[in-house]
Amino acid sequence: MSKLKLATVWLDGCSGCHMSFLDMDERLLELAEVVDVVYSPIVDTKVFPDEVDITLVEGAVASVDDEKKIKKIREHSKMLVAMGDCAVTGNVPAMRNPIGPEAILNRAYIENVSAQPQIPCVVVPKLLRVVRPIHEFVKVDVFLPGCPPSADTFHTALTALVKSGPLDIPALTRFGA
């Protein structure tokens, strides 16, 4: 059997989900026997591949760049997994929603800065007015809540997804877990 192609993506999140993924430790070797990691912040591929079997997405959609990325990722992924609370609910990145991006940017780059206060506008993507979970932009196949989902949750869920076996997510994890 040829290996499944696995991708992991990092949008607006803290990378904690990726850390927890890596916390699978020696179980990663077991996973590597059945999947190839074809795209991820932890591998060196720069362009999202054309065909991916399973894509894990960490983080909410917070900028125009995130929005573009998630749409492209969806197009090229057979199965899309919302990994962790930011992807599933918006979570901490979405806490700026009631305040709005202008006030946040002002606070960070003008009010609290003494040398050359200015709001970055070159290279960095424009922020969306509100941060949203990924399922508000694209169809999500599997929701894996948790902040972050534990290594055991990752192991159980990925094992089930790779084998197309049964998966009872509420038995494994919850919002804020």
């Binding site: 919302a82 609370d85 599933v88 609910t89 918006g90 979570n91 901490v92 979405a94 806490m95 929603n97 009631p98 305040i99 509100v130 949203r132 979970p133 399922h135 508000e136 999500v140 929701f143 894996l144 809540p145 902040c147 997510i169 509420p170 919850r174 919002f175 804020g176």
Partner: protein, 239 residues
């Protein structure tokens, strides 16, 4: 002297049960180890039927009725966990999560929250509705406790415990519908409620979420203990 008890016989989830007249469906179900999920109900307080999580189906009635405020009747046939009810319960929970800013990961009640636990029990993995992201305040003016409206589900347990048990009636509900807000006194800062609030903390203990919390608790180390209520009521009745 023997007191005659009016006994009703009914069926809950295909199980024959008997009850005393005047008991609610919820009471009788729980006596018989049939779990009906609740949020606004709390043993020891009056029931208001606000959260609608305890809705049940009754044969011959096309309306769903809240088990916490519906009295049993002879011959009732009640269903507590049909697919339809489970669907409604999940939707109610999704509405609650979408209504305000319940960010479980950074909540003092993370791991001890009734809303979070119910979400998990009812199989919620995400919220299908768009989040409203309202801009709500946090009042930390009381020297011991904080009210965070972002986490409030308007169950009114705090209002009831303060009025019915403590007898202070500091809490109440202001506004209507989506604009409802629990308030202290006549919408004054909790810290300035020196003549009415006794700082007993009962409201904090009965709050099912992180909306009311004790300032001395850090991180998510904030289990609540509302089980004092039935005991307190029992002792008062005995006096």
């Amino acid at each position: 002297m023997s007191v005659e008890t009016d006994v009703k016989t009914l069926v809950i989830d295909e199980q024959e049960v008997s009850a005393r007249a005047g008991q609610t469906i919820l009471e009788v179900a729980r006596e018989n180890d049939i779990n009906i999920p609740t949020l606004c109900h709390l043993d020891g307080l009056s029931d208001v039927g606000a959260c609608r999580l305890c809705l049940v189906e009754i044969k011959g009635n096309n309306k769903l009725l809240p088990a916490c405020v519906t009295a049993v009747q002879e011959g009732m046939e009640i269903s507590t966990s049909s697919e339809r009810l489970q669907k409604h319960r999940r939707t109610i929970l999704e509405l609650l999560f979408a209504e305000r800013n319940h960010v479980c990961s950074v909540c003092v009640s993370n791991g001890h929250c009734e809303l979070q636990t119910l979400g998990q029990e009812q199989g919620l993995t995400h919220v299908r509705l768009p989040y409203r992201n309202p801009n709500l305040s946090v009042d930390a003016s009381n020297e011991r406790f904080t009210v965070d409206h972002n986490r409030c589900i308007l169950c009114t347990r705090c209002v009831r415990v303060c009025a019915e048990i403590e007898g202070a009636h500091v809490w109440d509900v202001m506004g209507r519908g989506i604009n409802s807000l629990i308030i202290t006194d006549l919408h004054e800062k909790w810290g300035s409620s020196t003549s009415t609030c006794t700082k007993c903390g009962k409201c904090v203990q009965v709050c099912p979420t992180g909306a009311l919390f004790d300032k001395s608790k850090m991180g998510s180390d904030h289990p609540k203990s509302p089980d004092f209520l039935p005991y307190l009521n029992l002792m008062r009745e005995a006096q």
